[in-house]
């Protein structure tokens, strides 16, 4: 488990992270969401022991992470601008990381390089941005650490590779309880992978919740009512967040459990009703409004 307690970090007079307390449980995918400058990278760099917090402490499985080899051996950090040695090949990087991560799986690295159709003997500086990201992800996955910190890692990956990486993560979470922590400014990138999301804004954490928990209290329903006058009743009885009407088809995003919402609609004897899947964006609209923020101004 990663635990941050009252962590703050300033760069001269700029407060990058302001008194953040958060817990990241093992075996889940933690999404760290926020705009540019929200403090995501700073938080990750503190969490992997690169930066020293000005105040507070971050610990990994109970061990303070800064300058602690044992704690740091549980983490692999993929920065948003991963460094590869000049003229190094993927094999060189594999050997480099193998020197410091005792559980580094060279065989799997070679297999994955093949699967991703990356030449392990080609100089990395000749790779495209996306290919470099792939190499860094493969190094991170094959380091076999308990925690994998990815800073904007999915940015620049094509959808096929992104899907492949997600399936590797899912596999490793299943097999060895990998805990990926993924920082991104793009909600859609994390939509189908995160279990838990932390929203950072101006160095502070606005919320940190399980996606399932958030999904439990917000739903999107499409329905066609028999009587147009019932619309007013529906809007009155439900905690409406958003409505959209096309002809007689009404799409509503409302707070409440699925049972409560369906119960209200059923009482109006609709011609048709259906629960639709909610995007992470839509969930966040709801949650950030609760704490008094307009998510559209924060992220989109």
């Amino acid at each position: 488990m990663i635990e941050a307690v009252n962590v703050s970090k300033s760069f001269r007079n700029i407060k990058a992270v302001d008194d953040i307390s958060a817990t990241i449980k093992e075996g889940t995918v933690f999404g760290l969401i926020g705009t540019n400058g929200a403090g995501k990278s700073t938080f990750l760099r503190m969490a992997c022991g690169v930066l020293k917090p000005d105040h507070g402490e971050i610990s990994i499985d109970g061990l303070p992470v800064y300058e602690n080899e044992e704690a740091k051996s549980k983490i692999f950090y993929i920065s948003d601008d991963q460094y590869f040695f000049a003229n190094a090949t993927s094999n060189d990087m594999k050997n480099y990381y193998k020197s410091f991560y005792s559980k580094f799986d060279s065989v799997r690295f070679d297999e994955l390089m093949k699967k991703f159709e990356l030449d392990p003997n080609r100089k990395i500086n000749t790779f495209s941005k996306g290919m470099k990201k792939q190499v860094s992800i493969l190094c991170g996955v094959c380091a076999n650490t308990e925690y994998l910190f990815c800073d904007e890692t999915f940015d620049g990956l094509d959808p096929v590779v992104r899907q492949a990486v997600k399936s590797i993560f899912a596999n490793d979470m299943e097999e060895r309880k990998l805990t990926p922590v993924i920082a991104s400014h793009n909600l859609r990138e994390l939509e189908d992978i995160c279990d838990h999301v932390g929203l950072l804004h101006k160095g502070g954490i606005l919320l940190s919740k399980d996606l399932e928990e958030m999904k439990f209290n917000i739903h999107k329903i499409q329905c066609v009512l028999k009587n147009e006058n019932d619309e007013e009743v529906l809007y009155h009885k439900l905690d409406i967040l958003k409505t959209e009407k096309r002809g007689s088809l009404i799409t509503i995003t409302a707070r409440g459990t699925q049972v409560e919402i369906v119960d209200v609609i059923s009482q109006l004897n609709p011609l048709f009703h259906e629960i639709l899947p909610l995007s992470l964006e839509e969930i966040f609209i709801s949650e950030t409004e609760v704490v008094g923020y307009d998510i559209k101004k924060l992220i989109f």
């Binding site: 300058e67 020197s99 991560y101």
Partner: protein
């Protein structure tokens, strides 16, 4: 992972990244040792044929030992800077820092492996190329034990110098955040100390009339600069004091390593790419740079101005202070608009700079009127600049090995002040009191009157607390002569001025004198006992020499002491004055010709050149051009007349007073013996016959 294998992995991986540094170092040593040896091989073989095998072996040994160490020192200094900068270069890049600092390795381990690799990168190519050098030497019969030990002694010294520069450059890297500032920081660390010493000397030279720059001032440079400390280590090799200095350098290098580790642990990772790693140090370092630079600007503008006005100093301080402060702010903030940032710090820098310059100009610390209480003085020393000019001094305690000059030369003021301990202050204190009250302002040359003889002298105060202070004064010679005569009565004064008193006479190989009649030096035929007896007589009479006699008369002749052996020696000359009756008698008794007139038969010609000064009006415009006339005399009668009025140039050294010697007439004597055997002399016009006088005027 075990600690041992982790270190091994770290060292291996770091070396992989530093192949270019290893290659560069290897290339440098290949050029400096095997290639250089091969280039000089022909000369060494020539030495074997023309001189001896020993000479060739000595020449071979010089390539790698401390005698010819310039190239190896250059490699050590530049290599140390390159290795320190390249080893920790990752600290200047955010992405690299993220990569290095996220791996599960403590910073001290990272530091240690990179530091150790920096030593390997220097030592291993050095050793490999030394081996190649030895092989070349052995193959050509030039390798000796002397070459072997000399090479390893040089290796030890170079490695120590390398470690010092390397460790201090690492501190500069730790304190800075990007390459440009890192290089500037390295320059500051390596050269700030000497620059401050030079600036202090410049301020003193500019504003203090009694300032005397002792060699001791520049000696401090070895304590404030790693490069100069390294140079001193090489200079001291094989000499007294080497061991202590070597240990000192080693301790400083070790402390620098500890400081480097400490700073690395403190250094925030986010410093990468910024100018300074520690924000708090920015202002301190800026102020430490801006103040001296502003003062240099002030002195520069003052020296460039025709008026030498202090107003220009103020302008220079303001202008250069503002510029340097602004440039540093621009570097710190990577923003040109920052040129006017931190105005309060700029004001502090300017105020301190003006304060230093103003305090020096107004002499608020009373530098020029400094005179310690008699009760605080243990001893004093005085050295006149132009009184005893004929004498040269040598360090007989040290010898130059394999050199034609056996002993090192010592600057006359340095020797005298180091060897003169006047404890009877009544002999010297009044002179200094008079000099402080009547010191001629050497900086304001308008005070100098060309018709008056001035004499400058340096005083050394050795206080009872062992502090040594120096001052230099310039006074009118007429007034000073009385005080100088008092000094001449002091035994300690003469002990300091005339090295013959303290010299071991057994190192004197021979004594010669100048035969004026024949126009040549002649060796006195003396046994060792006779030489000692002769020198003893001379010393007795030298003890009684008065300053008045010295300046108001010309020597009868001079004796030259050849000190050392036939092929390696130095020469000291001593004058024999007319009052040295016993010395003259002794010399004549052993056949020396001390007649004061050159034999006209020996002279082929005499050329008298008359230099007439030009004249300037009030506005410095020439109204009368200087004229030079030359008169050639070959007639024996004329020559005989002229020789009676001649004083040889070699006997006119030092201050002369109440002497009718006209320096506007320069006489060149051409002897008959050889074409090049010439001598220079001056005329005592009163002794010149009327007909000759009319010819040349």
């Amino acid at each position: 992972m075990t600690s041992k294998s982790l270190y091994f992995n770290l060292i291996r991986e770091d070396l992989k990244r530093r192949v270019w540094t290893i290659s560069l170092m290897m290339l440098s040593f290949v050029i400096a040792l095997p290639i250089f040896t091969m280039l000089r091989l022909a000369r060494m073989k020539e030495a074997i044929n023309n001189t001896s095998l020993l000479e060739a072996q000595k020449y071979f040994a010089k390539i790698s030992n401390t005698n010819n160490i310039g190239l190896l020192m250059t490699i050590a200094i530049s290599g140390a800077i390159i290795c320190a900068m390249s080893g920790f270069f990752y600290l200047y890049s955010k992405s690299k820092v993220d990569s290095y600092h996220s791996i599960p390795v403590k910073r001290e381990k990272l530091f240690f492996t990179i530091y150790i690799n920096g030593i390997f990168i220097y030592v291993i190519p050095y050793l490999i190329n030394l081996l190649l050098y030895f092989i070349i030497g052995a193959a050509n019969g030039l390798l000796t034990g002397y070459a072997f030990t000399g090479a390893f002694e040089a290796l030890l010294i170079n490695l120590t110098g390398y470690l010092l520069v390397y460790s201090i450059t690492i501190i500069a890297v730790m304190l800075t955040g990007n390459l440009i500032v890192g290089l500037m920081g390295t320059t500051v660390f390596l050269l700030y100390g000497p620059a401050i010493i030079v600036l202090k000397n410049a301020i003193c030279e500019t504003f203090f009339h009694t300032y005397y720059a002792t060699e001791g001032v520049s000696d401090n440079i070895i304590y404030v600069s790693p490069i100069f400390a390294y140079v001193n280590l090489v200079t001291l090799a094989g000499k007294k004091g080497f061991g202590m200095f070597f240990i000192g350098v080693f301790i400083v290098a070790a402390l620098a390593v500890v400081a480097g580790i400490f700073l690395y642990k403190l250094r925030p990772s986010e410093a990468a790419g910024k100018s300074m790693a520690f924000y708090q140090t920015q202002a301190v370092i800026k102020i430490l740079i801006v103040i001296p630079v502003a003062i240099v600007g002030g002195l520069l503008f003052m020296s460039m101005s025709e008026s030498n006005s202090f107003g220009w100093t103020i302008f220079g301080i303001l202008f250069v202070g503002f510029l340097s402060h602004g440039i540093i702010e621009i570097i710190y903030n990577s923003d040109f608009k920052s040129i006017v940032a931190n105005k309060l710090q700029l004001v502090i820098c300017i105020v301190i700079s003006l304060g230093i310059a103003g305090a020096a100009k107004e002499d608020i610390f009373q530098y020029d009127s400094y005179l310690p209480d008699k009760g605080k003085i243990e001893s004093m020393g005085v050295s006149f600049d132009n009184l005893e000019s004929n004498y040269e001094y040598y360090d007989f305690e040290n010898e130059y090995p394999n050199s034609y000059q056996k002993y090192p030369y010592v600057y006359h003021t340095t020797y005298r002040l180091d060897h003169m301990n006047i404890t009877d202050l009544s002999m010297v204190y009044p002179l200094v009191e008079y000099a402080i009250a009547n010191n001629v302002n050497r900086i304001d040359y308008s005070q100098i009157d060309n018709s008056i003889n001035y004499i400058s002298f340096t005083v050394k105060y050795t206080l009872k607390n062992k502090k040594e202070t120096y001052r230099n004064y310039t006074v009118k010679f007429d007034d000073a002569l009385e005080y100088i005569n008092s000094l001449y009565a002091d035994e300690n004064y003469k002990n300091g001025v005339y090295q013959i008193f303290s010299m071991d006479k057994n190192i004197i190989n021979s004594v010669s004198y100048y035969n004026l009649v024949e126009g040549m030096d002649e060796t006195l035929k003396l046994t060792r006992e006779q030489m000692n007896e002769f020198l003893s007589i001379y010393e007795n009479e030298l003890r009684n020499l008065t300053a008045t006699e010295m300046v108001e008369s010309f020597p009868v002749t001079q004796i030259s002491l050849e000190i050392g052996e036939n092929d390696s020696y130095v020469v000291q000359n001593y004058y024999i004055y007319p009052s040295f009756a016993d010395t003259i008698k002794y010399m004549e008794s052993i056949g020396a010709n001390l007649d004061s007139v050159i034999d006209a038969d020996n002279i082929q010609s005499i050329i008298i050149t008359n230099y007439t000064d030009g004249k300037l009006d009030e506005n410095n415009i020439t109204i009368e051009k200087p004229v030079t006339n030359e008169y050639v005399f070959t007639n024996k009668e004329d020559i005989e007349k002229i020789t009676k009025a001649l004083i040889l140039d070699r006997f006119t050294n030092g201050m002369k007073y109440n002497i009718d010697l006209n320096y506007n007439y320069v006489v060149d004597i051409q002897y008959k013996y050889t074409v090049n055997n010439t001598d220079r002399a001056y005329l005592v016009i009163d002794k010149l016959s009327e007909d000759i006088r009319s010819k040349i005027q």
